[in-house]
Every structure is written in C-alpha cells, then in structure tokens.
C-alpha cells in the first residue's frame, strides 16, 4: 500500500461505500450453495480501494468460517486461506487491497466485533458490510459498518456503531472511476 494512501485512509473516516454488482452476485451465489437452508452464515473478505473516505468494493471471496451455535465466543476463521487467496488475487490486480469483510448476517452478531478486530491486522480501517441475501423488501440489501473506539472511564473499549454509510450499488464504468483508480 502506498504511504499516501494509508494516511488518507486513516485520517478520513469512511463516509461512502460503493459496492460493485459482481460482489453481490458472488456472495449470494456462495450463500445459496453453502448455507441456504441452514442458520449458518457466510463470511468473506472484501477487496477494493479506498480513497478520501470512499470505499470502492470491487471484488470479494468467501473464507472458511465456523462458529459454535451455542457459544458465540467460539469461532474459527481460516486466515491462512485468506492470506494465500489474497496473494493470488494481488497477482492479477495489484491495485485491489483488502478493505474489509462481509457477512450474510442477516444481522450483527456478538462475535462480529472480534472478527472485525482480526481484520485490523490486514487493513487499518476495515469496513463490515452485511448483505441481506433474502431481502423481504425492496431496496438496497446492504448495510455497512465500521468500528469506533470509545474510551470508557478506565479502559479503552471498542464498540461498533451503526453508521449508516451511504451505500451505492453502481455498475462498473469508467465514468465512476473519476481518476481515483487510474
């Protein structure tokens, strides 16, 4: 990652998340194959670029993930898989970085904060996008979150706030690039 880019990312809080249709399609397809009639959820990594508070999610892939239904603190995410996969993706498109992760939710769960913490190792300001794979109403089926550190009296404590980021689903076109990715 460029030094400039990291500065920009860390300095500006995320305001906008643009999700490209390919991402939605692959997530829904994966969910339908793997966890359709179960209560399990699918988790994966989001790739893209981030510039001046706008996160552009262009690609994604699922990762092996297991959690205990009864005990939410028991979960396992194969990060070796993620690292290998990312290194391969980087070979075809060096501009795509890890920007965050996604979950099929449908809602936030208790261990999401722990998983989010894991992604801090890969990107300074990860974004969580919850994709609703079985939407009941018309509208944008995504919700994006990022985490905020709250200092509570004695110790620091991380908490997630519901930041209703403006999420746009735009088909990829050169006009939308507006020179940021070039």
């Amino acid at each position: 990652m460029d030094v400039i880019k990291t500065q920009q990312i860390s300095s500006r809080p995320i305001e906008k998340v643009i999700v490209h249709p390919l991402v939605l399609l692959s997530i829904v397809d994966n969910y339908n194959r793997v966890a359709k009639d179960t209560r399990k959820r699918v988790i994966g990594v989001l790739l893209g670029t981030s510039f001046k508070g706008t996160v552009d999610v262009t690609n994604s892939y699922a990762v092996p993930f297991e959690e205990d239904e009864k005990d939410p603190s028991i979960w396992f995410l194969d990060h070796n898989y993620h690292e290998s996969m990312f290194s391969m993706f980087k070979r075809i498109n060096a501009k795509e970085h890890v920007v965050g992760w996604y979950s099929t939710g449908p809602k936030l769960r208790e261990n999401d904060l722990d998983i989010h913490r894991l992604f801090h190792n890969y990107v300074p300001n990860p974004v969580l996008v919850i994709i609703d794979v079985q939407p009941k109403e018309l509208g944008i089926p995504t919700k994006a979150y990022y985490d905020v550190e709250e200092v509570k009296e004695n110790a620091t404590q991380k908490s997630q706030k519901d930041i209703t980021l403006v999420v746009k689903i735009t088909p990829f076109s050169p006009a939308n690039r507006s020179g940021t990715l070039a």
């Binding site: 092996p64 297991e66 959690e67 205990d68 005990d71 603190s73 028991i74 979960w75 396992f76 194969d78 990060h79 070796n80 898989y81 722990d114």
Partner: protein, 397 residues
C-alpha cells in the same frame, strides 16, 4: 504412518513463566511442540499440524493445519505470555479448525498442553470430550506445570470421555531434571497409536542422550530402514564369508593331507622296502592313526554343515536375498566336500589301490590282510589322510 491432522493447543498463560522446567515452562513447552511437529511431519509427509494459543487476549489460531514445518516454527517465535488459559474454548476452536482441514481423509487429533490451573468444571470438560468423541477426534493431554488439586482428575475425566479405542492418551510430566520434550518422546504422544512414527524423535533422543539406542547397529530401522537392512545383511554375509573361509581352510588342510598321502605311501613304500616282513604293519598303523585323524576332520565338516543349516534357517526367516547368498556359499562348501568325496572315491577305487599296493615290493595284493585293507580303504581313506597329517608333525618333531 497414520495420516493425521493435528492441532496443538499451547498454554501461554502467566503460569508459564515459572522456571521449574528448565529453562522456563514456556520454553520447555515450545521445544516439545517443535519436536512433535517434526515427528508428525516426518512420520507421514502428508500430515498437517496447526497451532493455537489458549491464553493471552483470547484463543488465537496461529497456524491452521499445514504441512509446512517452517511456517509452524516461525509462528511459535515471539509469543507472549499472559492471561489465563481457556481450555474449553481452546479445544473447541481446535476442533473447528480440524473440521476445515483440506484433506478429509486425515484423522483428527488435538494435543493439549495443560500447564496452568483449570477453571472449568469437570462436567463441562466431559461434555466437550463427548462432542470430540462424536466427531471422532482423538485427544492427547500433556499435564505439566501447575499441580493443583483436582487437575489430574479433571483431565482424566476429560480423557475418558474422549477416549475411543485407546486413541487418546494423557501424560503427567512432573517438574524435575528431565526436560519436557525428553519425557514426551517415550510416551504414546510421540509414538502414536502403536505406529513407529517416532523415528525422528528417537533419533533426536539418541542424539540428546548420547547415542544410546535400543536398535542394532545404532540405526533405527524406522529412520532409515534401507540402511538398517543393508547393515544387517552385510553382517550376515561377513559371518558367512568367514565361515566359508574357515571351511576352505579346513578343506585345504585335508587336501594337504591327501597330498601328503602320496608321501606317507611312499614312506610306507620305503618302509616296506626296508622292512619286507612288516609291510602291512606300517599300513595298519597308518590306518589306525589315520582313522583317528579323519574322525576328527569328519566332525568338523559335520559341525560346519550344522552351523550352515542353522544359518540357513535363520536366513530364510530374515531375508530372501541373504538366503540365496548363503545357499551359494553352501554350494561352494558342498562342492568342496564333493571334491573331497571325489578324492576319497579315487582312493576307494580298488583297482587303483591294488595297483599302488602291487607296486609296493613287500605287499602281496592277494594277501588277505591287504584285501581287508582294500575293502576298508574307502571308509578309511580320510582317516588315512588325517593319520598321515598326525604322522607328519610327529615325524617333524
């Protein structure tokens, strides 16, 4: 050579700072872990090993099951101690990690290093154990470090609830002189389910203990079976060769005696020439002495063959090639003995003998004594040779 995916749960809690295992509990544990990884990957190249820490900020998977030893060893580096061990979470997360192993044919195994006090209840541990058993996961527990009341019982209860056909083991390692890894080498943790997967570990132990090994030739057949076999075969061949050489030496001695037989005969000829009356007497004396000597030599070939037979049976038990080699050497021996028998046949040939005897001036072939002699010659030909040998040294003296 069981195909296995292993998850090692390391205790990196505050209790690991203690120095009752040298150099520190944590370091001893790290050495043991690296030994286990080496042993597993060596026993079967497709084995995978993963590592997770149970204490610290929480259960953290350092490495998912992989067969890359370098990666495993590097993630062990720079671990920090702190916090409390969460045994239940550690085991459960290890189980989840094993669920996602790449090769579904691998047996699932978890190795837990329990060094600090266990805060879970026995019942909770038993529930976990049952779940592991249901998913056919084997569990090895290394109980070391902190010795708290009820800890062995809790671990034993966990083991009994997991154990299925004795695939799971528990090892209690008390603090003391021996390093944790040395103690573990001799336990089923290393040797697996009776398999000889401890070749690497045994070699390491041998190196550590100063070359003491239970195996012949100082080479563990598990490390290098070809080398061990080659050494064994060469030892046997050497033995066979030495015996064959001994046989040949004995044969040469007997041949020398046969060669000298002509001399004694000429001696006896001279003797008979000189002593006309007592022509047969020297022969008789010769016969008697020769009989004794040949009896001795007959024993030796006999013993040789018995030794050869024992060796042969041994060989067939051990090694086919080796048996072949021995057979060939035995054939050589038999050839020699057949050569011997050829010579004796010649001697036993009455016409030949009678012609020789007739050449002796003092001997009358028709003499009954001589006839008896001729008849007994075939059986006595070898005693004759030996007698001559005895005579010769006597004469020399």
């Amino acid at each position: 050579m069981v195909l296995e995916a292993t998850m090692i749960c390391i205790d990196n809690s505050e209790w690991m700072r203690n120095g009752d295992y040298s150099p520190s509990r944590f370091q001893a544990q790290a050495d043991a872990v690296s030994l286990i990884c080496g042993a597993k990957t060596q026993s079967n190249p497709e084995n995978t090993v993963g590592i997770l820490t149970m204490a610290g900020k929480g259960v953290r998977v350092l490495a998912t099951p992989t067969s890359d030893l370098g990666k495993i060893l590097s993630c062990m580096h720079g671990l920090e101690m702190g916090g409390e061990m969460n045994l239940a979470a550690g085991i459960q997360i290890a189980q989840l990690a094993l669920k996602h192993r790449q090769n579904k044919n691998q047996q699932q195994r978890i190795i837990v290093f329990a060094g600090s006090p266990i805060k879970h209840e026995k019942k909770a541990l038993e529930m976990i154990g049952k779940k592991l058993k249901k998913n056919s996961v084997a569990l090895d527990i290394v109980d070391f470090g902190e010795d708290e009341d009820g800890k062995p019982e809790k671990l034993e209860a966990l083991l009994t609830s997991v154990n299925n056909n004795d695939t799971s083991h528990i090892v209690h390692v008390p603090a003391g002189q021996n390093a944790l890894s040395d103690v573990l080498i001799s336990t089923p943790v290393f040797t697996g389910d009776g398999e000889g997967g401890s070749g690497f570990a045994a070699a390491a132990a041998a190196a550590a203990a100063g070359g003491v090994s239970d195996f012949d030739f100082g080479v563990d057949p598990n490390i290098d079976p070809e080398l061990a076999l080659a050494l064994r075969v060469s030892m046997e061949e050497e033995r066979a060769r030495q015996e064959a050489a001994a046989k040949r030496a004995a044969e040469e001695a007997t041949r020398q005696e046969k060669g000298e037989e002509a001399q004694p005969q000429s001696d006896s000829q001279n003797a008979t020439m000189n002593a006309t009356e007592k022509a047969s007497d020297p022969m008789d004396e010769d016969d008697a002495l020769l009989k004794q000597a040949l009896a001795l030599s007959m024993n030796i070939p006999g013993s040789d063959s018995s030794a050869g037979d024992a060796q042969m049976s041994e060989a067939t038990n051990d090694d086919q090639e080796f048996a072949l080699a021995l057979q060939m050497s035995m054939q050589d021996g038999s050839k020699d003995s057949s050569a011997q028998s050829d010579v004796s046949k010649v001697l036993g040939d009455q016409s030949f003998m009678s012609s020789i005897l007739s050449s002796l001036p003092g001997v009358d072939p028709n003499d009954p004594k001589v006839k008896d002699l001729l008849a007994s010659l075939p059986s006595q030909s070898e005693p004759q040779e030996k007698k001559d040998e005895d005579e010769q040294p006597k004469d020399d003296k």
